[in-house]
């Protein structure tokens, strides 16, 4: 049946878009059910040209951006609404400058004003308010501590002791029990293509199917979630109406498409403080509307660029209220508004469209910025014009990341987008239970110490025999390590099941899930931190002579190393194979433990800047790393141990099998511009070649910073001169001057490849 009972939907005439959102579009199954992917495949226009069609920022755009830019320095004193728990409709409409904004809608009633989101947990809200000098409402406190249970309360009601111990010792860190889990992408395009009325109709169809089934616990939960989804869609209509728009019907123009799409997004970020509130894969979708309006003569290229510029401005000012501890873990106040560009359709046509160029152009029109997190789904077969423009943007701004389109498409289809840093998922078809990560270095130290923590001596893992030899024997250590990882895997999945059960129950993402299919694929994304340290430590034990140093209590607190060992990051199979084995082994262990809601287990090797925090909580390691020193970020080799050039380093990482780390494997590299070539054209050519070589070698993800070390050092001392200095850190972008000094030092000390 046709979801939209809309007799005006035709495919024949030139657009009469004032009355009909679908006029001029090619018909297809997308008209008979919610299927944005099908709509895109039937209607988009691949673009094989170069960047020369792009236009600069208009005076209006620059004026709007200037108004916001002057507010950024004052943001250190956060603007917060301390008394209104956020919801889709809780705040009155707000604007930046009504006279010149093309796209409207804010999270609260004023730009950069942050809302409280107490359903995750009250203490996080209260601490944040106190930290930033705002009153804590006693009325709200009563509600959220006495009458309304929160997510974190639920989690701690059900955590078993082993999880609490692992959490306390930082063996497992960053669990989304005290904050939103994020890592899901509402298919915001659905609002523009179908209008909310049709979306509600589709949800009611899903409900009919649920009602036909017996009321088991699972079905009851699904019905309740369905009811919440419908309620959220209705609130979205109200919220848009407050701004003077009717989103019940399909968007009729490019401007409306951008606006409808954008209303859906803040609808989600108004009430979810997920660390990662990603945006999806929107460029081909929007491009269809723009091509239609351009052909009809009702839109110019400059106006099309203005729409994207305005949208990006909105995405740049998404803000959440978070504690300083949180910022230490996820530094730079990131929101991971990730937008995926490029890619290839299942029919082999590339998804490069003019609007993908337009998104990248915002980095010139508005200057570089951390958000939105622009991500290029790269394949060596993408058209040359795009393949050369992306590296050019990297060289000029350092603000984009690359991920292997071929790996992602094979696993998740041609409408997958990146959530957060590097996690791929089919838009509207798939979500993940975010799992932060387990410290596989600490697990190795526990194996050596019989389950005791190397820093505190506390018994964290089950008691096993400590390794008491004078020299560490590889086979003995490996056997003990397997036992340690096995316990860690069980404990870890246990923790995640508790968390996500309670997140669904107390902090359900109503609107984001309303913009998903009724039946979705769930993944449970486990992650590991410290892979290169663990691999190097094991390589040291295997190829050099490592002697443990014990304190009076027999606890191994340090190691002496005689001889050399091969280090991860040199394309040396001896150690790279160890890293691969750790990834494969831990994944296999994780898969043994059933996941909540039958989620598919996945794994990531990415750590964001939390590699600093993980390192801080981990003692001396057998590879020679000192206690407290940062781990390498993501899957990166350790600083300075990769001595055979950037690509050799990357090729070690590329050996990690994506099939065993489907949530992503991240690699960050920094190069100085002259290291890429003598001329600008040569630099672009060489960077294209490097990304091709890496992805053709099955590399999954690559951050490229093109920066001088001197620039970063100067920025540390003169933050005021670098308000927009942007660097990439393990899957996302940060504003350098907003990192802590410790994190800044870590970034600078990382391998700078003066030649690559």
């Amino acid at each position: 049946m046709t979801l939209l009972d809309n007799p005006r939907a035709t495919t024949t005439d030139a657009p009469t878009s004032a009355i009909n959102g679908w006029a001029g579009f090619t018909a297809g199954p997308w008209q008979h059910g919610i299927d944005v992917q099908d709509f895109i495949q039937h209607n988009y226009t691949p673009f094989t040209g170069d960047a020369s069609f792009l236009t600069g920022a208009t005076e209006r755009t620059l004026a709007l951006w200037a108004r916001l830019s002057e507010m950024f320095p004052r943001e250190r004193a956060l603007d917060v609404d301390p008394s209104t728990p956020a919801s889709i409709t809780a705040h009155a409409p707000g604007c930046t400058d009504q006279s010149i904004e093309i796209i409207v809608g804010l999270q609260t009633d004023a730009p950069l004003k942050r809302a409280i989101m107490p359903f995750g947990g009250w203490r996080m809200v209260a601490t944040s308010l106190e930290t930033y000098g705002y009153p804590v409402s006693s009325e709200l406190e009563t509600i959220f501590t006495k009458y309304r249970k929160t997510h974190i309360d639920g989690v701690f009601d059900v955590y078993p002791p082993a999880v609490k111990r692992a959490r306390h010792s930082h063996l497992i860190t960053g669990l989304p029990d005290a904050y939103g889990r994020g890592r899901m992408i509402g298919d915001y395009r659905r609002v523009a293509l179908y209008g909310v009325t049709a979306l509600i109709a589709a949800k009611k169809l899903e409900r009919t199917a649920l009602d036909a089934q017996p009321s088991t616990e699972e079905i009851i939960r699904s019905r309740e979630e369905n009811a919440e989804q419908v309620r959220a869609l209705k609130e979205l209509v109200q919220m848009a109406a407050h701004y003077g728009f009717d989103v019940t019907q399909p968007a009729r123009t490019a401007t409306e498409a951008v606006q409808w799409l954008y209303f859906a997004y803040p609808g989600a970020v108004k009430e979810q403080n997920g660390p990662a509130m990603s945006f999806g894969r929107n460029s081909a979708f929007l491009d269809i509307y723009m091509e239609r309006d351009l052909a009809a003569g009702i839109l110019t290229e400059s106006q099309a660029q203005e729409l994207i510029d305005d949208l990006v401005i909105k995405l740049r000012i998404v803000r959440f209220l978070r504690t300083p501890e949180y910022d230490q873990l996820f530094s730079g106040d990131p929101t991971w508004v990730t937008e995926s560009l490029g890619g290839i359709g299942l029919d082999g046509r590339n998804h490069v469209v003019k609007s993908a160029f337009r998104f990248l152009q915002t980095l010139y029109n508005l200057g570089p910025a951390p958000e939105p997190n622009l991500t290029v789904l790269w394949s060596d077969t993408l058209p040359d014009g795009f393949k050369r423009f992306c590296p050019q943007v990297s060289i000029d701004t350092s603000a984009i990341q690359y991920q292997s389109e071929d790996l992602i498409r094979a696993a998740w289809g041609d409408d997958a987008a990146i959530a957060c840093c590097v996690s791929p998922m089919g838009v509207g078809k798939q979500m993940q239970f975010f799992g932060a990560r387990a410290n596989v270095v600490k697990a190795l130290l526990y194996a050596i110490n019989g389950g005791r923590d190397e820093l505190t001596g506390e018994q964290i893992a089950p008691v096993t025999a400590p390794l008491d030899s004078d020299v560490l024997d590889y086979d003995t250590v490996w056997a003990a390590y397997l036992a340690s990882l096995e316990w860690l895997a069980a404990t870890y999945v246990d923790a995640l099941n508790c968390i996500h059960y309670m997140h669904d129950k107390y902090a359900y993402e109503r609107l984001e899930m309303a913009l998903h299919d009724g039946t979705i694929l769930r993944t449970m994304a486990c992650g590991i931190a410290g892979l290169s340290v663990a691999a190097d430590s094991l390589a040291a034990i295997k190829y050099a002579t490592v002697r443990p140093v014990r304190d009076a209590s027999g606890l191994v607190v340090d190691y002496t190393i005689d001889g050399d060992y091969p280090a991860f990051g040199n394309d040396d199979d001896r150690v790279d194979a160890i890293a691969v084995t750790i990834v494969e082994t831990f994944m296999a262990m994780i898969r043994q433990y059933p996941a909540y809601r039958n989620a598919v287990h996945t794994q990531s090797v990415l750590t964001i800047t939390s590699n600093v925090v993980y390192g801080k909580k981990t003692g001396n390691t057998p590879d020679g790393r000192r206690a407290g020193a940062p781990f390498a970020p993501g899957a990166n080799p350790m600083n300075g141990r990769d001595s055979h050039g950037m690509l050799a380093s990357a090729l070690s990482v590329a050996k990690l099998p994506y099939s065993e780390a489907q949530d992503g494997i991240s690699l960050t590299n920094t190069v100085v511009p002259t290291g890429l070539g003598r001329t600008p054209a040569e630099q672009v050519t060489n960077l294209v070649g490097l990304i091709d070589a890496y992805t053709l070698s099955h590399g999954y993800h690559l951050n490229i910073n093109v920066l001088n070390r001197e620039t970063l050092e100067d920025a540390m001392e003169h933050t005021e001169n670098y308000p927009q200095l942007t660097i990439r850190v393990s899957g996302y972008v940060v504003n350098f001057v907003r990192l802590t000094r410790e994190q800044q030092r870590d970034v600078i000390s990382r391998t700078f490849h003066t030649s690559v």
């Binding site: 190829y543 050039g645 070539g677 060489n686 070649g689 053709l696 030649s755």
Partner: protein, 316 residues
């Protein structure tokens, strides 16, 4: 590949160079040391510089590891300092660059004096090098890169260079030779036949300055460059700009005039001196002559580039 030495995979591993300890490799090194002493006394005679002759006479003298030394003479084994997969600095695209150990020049600004002595390298078999080249064929194809032999001075081990370049061409891999040209006479015609690009380091244009900078003569480099011109081999001329040492207007003009004689030179790369090699000099306890010398400033670099451009040379 008949006489390939098996020195043990770990020892030949490129990541960590061979460590100290009694071994066959040490014996070879002792032999090489003896050979290089013999060479040093007659350094001006290029024939005496031929490692292969020296190595075989050393082998005869010690009667040890005849097979190994035979392999070196054949070029099936090389003394290697290190390898890197680098972009843009050693030729076009991304290149697998092998730095061969051993050099007769003693450039004051040398940034890797640990490559001077052949005995300090790791003995690496042609098969191992070829395995790595095969591994990176896709990289070379994607980046328009290839293999570069650098050093040290690769032409101290000309048989290895010749064999490797021939093997590369069998594989369809682009080859680049990074050399001072001082030992150009050691390069056979067959070697040059398989060299797609030569990075020719003209360290100074005035014979006296050249001698001051390197301790050797300029003439062999010019002779080698002339030979490359005759063969029509693509050449990038390199020149290291050191304030107070190589930056005299006359000296730079002389380099430019030499390069301008060769129509096969497609670019000149002016490399600004840096101090990143100082640590290595200190570590090796070699008195470092350029202590405290600052890198050339932008104005000086531009002046020098302009001198080259004034001779019609494409210069970076």
């Amino acid at each position: 590949m008949s006489a390939v030495v098996n020195l043990g995979a770990h020892r030949l591993g490129p990541v960590k160079r061979v460590t100290d300890g009694p071994s066959k490799a040490d014996a070879i090194r002792r032999a090489m040391r003896a050979a290089s002493v013999a060479r040093a006394s007659t350094a001006d005679d290029l024939h005496q510089l031929d490692l292969t002759c020296a190595a075989s006479s050393a082998a005869a003298a010690t009667d040890l590891h005849h097979q190994e030394l035979e392999a070196i003479r054949d070029g099936t084994v090389a003394s290697v300092h290190s390898w890197e997969l680098v972009t843009s600095v050693d030729g076009p695209g991304t290149r697998l660059t092998y730095f061969l150990s051993g050099c007769l020049l003693r450039c004051q600004y040398c940034h890797n004096p640990d490559t001077w002595k052949m005995r300090n390298g790791a003995l690496t078999s042609m098969n191992d090098v070829l395995a790595r080249i095969r591994r990176y064929r896709a990289v070379f194809a994607a980046t328009g890169g290839g293999v570069t032999l650098s050093g040290g001075e690769p032409l101290l081990q000309p048989a290895f260079v010749a064999r490797l370049f021939a093997e590369c061409h069998e594989l369809g891999v682009h080859t680049t030779l990074d050399t001072s040209g001082y030992l150009g006479a050691s390069a056979t015609d067959e070697l040059l036949e398989n060299a797609d690009l030569v990075l020719l380091d003209v360290k100074s244009g005035l014979p006296d300055t050249y001698r001051e900078v390197t301790g050797r003569e300029l003439a062999p480099t010019i002779a080698f460059g002339d030979r490359l011109r005759e063969r029509g081999i693509n050449v990038w001329v390199r020149f290291v700009l050191v304030p107070g040492l190589t930056d005299a207007v006359d000296n730079v003009d002389a380099v430019a005039e030499i390069a301008a004689r060769w129509p096969n030179v497609t670019r000149v790369e002016m490399l600004p001196f840096h101090q990143m090699g100082a640590d290595t000099w200190n570590r090796l306890a070699i008195p470092y002559p350029l202590h405290g010398v600052l890198p050339p400033d932008a104005a000086l670099q531009e002046r020098v580039r302009a001198q080259f451009r004034g001779h019609g040379l494409v210069t970076f």
